[in-house]
Amino acid sequence: MAAGANDASAPGSHAGAHASVRDLARLWPWLRPYRGYLIFMLVIATLAMVVQSVLPIITAALIDGPIARHDTSGMYPLIGLALLFGVLEAVLFGIRRRAMNISSLAIETDLRRDFYQHLQRLPVSFHDRWPSGQLLSRVTTDLSTLRRFVGFMAVFIVANLAVIVVVLVLLVRLQPMLGLAVIVVMLPLAFATRLYERRYNIEARRAQDLTGDLATGVEESVLGIRVVKSFGRRGQLLRNFTGDASRLREAELSKNRTLATLWTIIGTYPQLVLAGVTCFGVLAVAHGSLSKGDLVAFITLQLRLNWPLMAMGWLIAGTEEAVAASARLFEVLDTASDITDPVEPARLAGPANRPARLQFDHVSFRFADAGADTLHDLELDIAPGETMALVGPTGSGKTVLTSLVSRLHDVTGGAVRIDGVRVGQLSLLELRRTVSTAFEEATLFSASVRENLSLGRPEATDDEIAEAIEIAQAGFVHELPYGLETRVGEQGLSLSGGQRQRLALARAVLGRPRVLVLDDPLSALDVHTEAQVERALRRVLGATTALVVAHRASTVLLADRVALLDGGRITAVGTHSELMASNPAYRNLLSQEVRPDACLDANEARV
């Protein structure tokens, strides 16, 4: 059950299978919609090449014909033709580029969209494991590498290969022996290319991975800037960053060395062959087995191989980079989410606003790489409309437990049930519409207050929003410069911890969910505000089933019953006063003596 995402190799551990052109072929579904454009580009490119080769022919005809005959009036038609073809070449060039722009950008945009959408649906466990810099470098650097390949290089590879083949065929036809000799002598070039191509592939992959690592380092240094400043660790971070940047530089340089060698071989070897051809050709002419004109034609033709061969060196590099980019992309796209909709989702009976029953039925949970269960054989039954407080020492598994309800993580044993239906049998949409969670960390996005409150429910009405704000005592939003339309979050107005927490609470109670999960929802509030929020919250809690993680007695008192979580199990359930009376562990957790000395005593007693 926990396979899939959890088993996918962690980023950076890419030493595995060698990526190949097959990875590029997998891009086909994204290319398919634009295949018309791609074929069109190929046709235009071929046409442009024909036009290009016609131009010198016209020039030759002009020089050998009217100009040689001193016939000025005879020049006009040919000059006109040359002009026409000259303009045509530029126009075809422009058209091809235009088609390339449309298709390659569209393909890039589609890929980016699909990548983002896929990532959003991968489970939290995946995101905990993958540094976001690695994801970011894929969605920016790797995608533009692919765009360049698709729009530009793919067409040129085909065109170039065609030119090379045509020239070779012509060489053989012109002088079979010499031509075949050239082909045979050129063969080592293919081997060398293949060899360096493989090496380049591995190096390109490494460089791209290191680009991702660098991005991760940048992200952390920026998000953690306050900690860095507070401890004066600028030097340490700069050293780390310099290390990352040096590794990237080394990787880029080894790429560069491979490329320099490959290009030099591709550029030099044909020249050496040409020297040989010249020598033997001249000898053949001297011995009368070859005409002088044929030799000149042969050499001229062979010179035409130079540019396409040089270009191949460059195209090969681009292809290998695209292969690596594609492999990096599919590494993520191939990760299947293990938290998915069931094939035949069950439905919850009853009206949408009726509180539901929430059960933990022999629930166990273990992190993928952990040796022991975090939660073990846990039993808890919350009746419809009941509010259950969850109390336990730091690290007892409270936060994980809350994440099981809305399936941010899946149980590894047992089941969480809502109205008797396993949460895994509900569609994610229905489940997450039924369950609403306020996390201990109040995440705000850089968007308007309204957007932050409604998050996944853009259809929320103004009344619903007003009610949620009232319950969470978040009336301060009306005082903001643009009220609900004020942008908050990192790119907007910064709010205090208490304000953020109240917005997170408002977000959770919006639309009166059937099951409400609150993870320490009042920790950042001052006593006064806390009391107000509690009063308003009681109204909501009466009409919904709630699981509230609490550290303080005041929060616990919102609940009908309390469950004590210790060592991954529920060790006691009862009302606050019952547990205070009967359970020493609970008493120790919740009793807050006023005299500090008494605190110390209590603590010593525990230790």
Partner: protein, 653 residues
Amino acid sequence: MSTELSGEQAADPALERASAQALDQTSAQAVEGAEQPPAVPVGQWHGRYDRREAEDEPAPAALSRPRLDTEARQLLLELIRPYRRQVIILLIVVIGQVVATMAAPLLIGMAIDHGLPDAIDGNYRTLLQLTAALGTAAALAGLLQAVFLRRTGVVGQAILFDLRRRVFDHTQRLSVSWHERFTSGKVISRLTSDVDTLRELLDSSLDGLLLALLNIVVITVLMLVLDPWLALLALAAMIPLFLLFRWFSARSTVAFRRTRETVALLIVQFVETFNGIRAVQAFRREPRNDAIFEGLNTSYRDANRTVFDLHAIFIPGVTLIGNVATVTVLFVGGYRVAEGGLALGVLTAFLLYLREFYGPMEDVAIFFNSLQSATAALEKLALVLAEQPEVPEAASPVPLPRPTAGEIRFESVEFSYDPTAERPRTVLHALDLCIDSGQTVALVGATGAGKTTIAKLISRFYDPTEGRVRLDGVPLDELSDSDLRGAVVMITQDGFLFSGSVADNIAFGRPAATRAEIEEAARAVGAEEFIRRLPAGFDTDVRKRGGRLSAGQRQLIAFARAFLADPAVLILDEATSSLDIPTERAVQRALRTVLHGRTALIIAHRLSTVEIADRVLVLDAGRVVEDGTPADLIATVDGRYAALHTAWLDSLV
């Protein structure tokens, strides 16, 4: 002329964008079908906000500014300057390569003209010599090419490395207030996407460009020698070429700038989504995010389209000018040959040279395009580099007396987060405050009373607008950064963790600490127990920002980190809010020992935390309204603290 041009610029790109969008929409509809959510325009979800957005989004007037910032060019030159010797050597190498390459056709011609007759006569010496020369030239060209490619790689990577380090170091030097304005997503975008653009420029074939330029110079001279009049005709094409370059330069500057801005927005959305993935999934925000991302993705594509379409006119335009010029030369030259005024050989040579003249011109154009793109990115980077830290480090720092006592004094401190605004919101008003060394002071007050501001001033995230803050009598802005950071440490509520092990994160407080000291620090704050229970104990990887750890656990690690740092002044800003009561007690017990002989400032809503303070300051709207020991304040009739205390007692049940 110039007014005409700029008028065109104002009207045209908009038109072009609009038509491009119309075109894209139809094609998108055709292929995507109905399954994709419609893109949401930014205006609908982004909300309104007026703050000066850290110079990044230029005013509308600046957007149409066609010339690239001189700062960008200057930055590029600055980056290249340390390597100018290598660049000159590279130039020489490439000239050698050109000469060696150009020798080949000449040698082949000689082989046929001279080697062949000799060979027919049975004398193979000339042929063999020429073949050897041909081989040598090829080998030399290859060797020089290899040297050139390797050395450009080294220089290019060195420049990139310098730039990365420089921007990184600079952003880290900039004050917290700058980071709050500029926002993390944009810094990330500068350091990744924008730097990448320069990499693309350096990757683009510099040898091609140098070869092209050399070719152009050499051929210009040759043509002028051959026939000045025909040469002038050929060179006349430089005028439309120049105009084309200028047109492209003006247009593409604006367009490239736009791609930099749209990609930054895209990156911000991307980073925020995946840093907040729990909320995204739990609240079913995926479809809404899909729609928002679609909008950003599309505007990035459109920005790219504008650039690429300019490119699709520019490059073929160069080809067109070259072709038309060649035909013109052919026509005029042909006419003169026909009339007998010009030798046929000269015309043929001219035509061959022109091919070599205009062909490379396209390489120059392509390079120019990369340069424009990189300059747009460099412009953004130059703006970041031009930012001055708002809390600059002292030029000639005053040493902090040792041992540091930790006495803090506020002298008529006034503070506003936006002092330059029309009506600045003053957070602190003429605050005079002395915190004796070794004193533990609790700050109490409602949200917005100025508690956190005081903490931020002591840790010098900000400087006061008026007045001074002194540590042991030395104004904070006269201390060296290392003295200040060694003496004052602040822990905040969020407990940020870096990737790495738990031990690494604690050691962040004191990198030189031994393992035993790290474990001791964890033990002191009561974090050892849960750390030992993690899969690999202290060596457990905390994963992305401690995704697996609860807020309480992260706070404990942050605490251990601060204990290890061993500062003279410790500031706790809601640093224990997510701890359970016994753990908080353990932390407090540890604090009693640890804070002995240290100055401490505690901000907390829970009065339980305040109990250990020697002194309580009640703040209201930026002013201290009550000041005394907890016991005294509780005893004050109608006192604010007394009221808070009563409310708190009630909440305890």
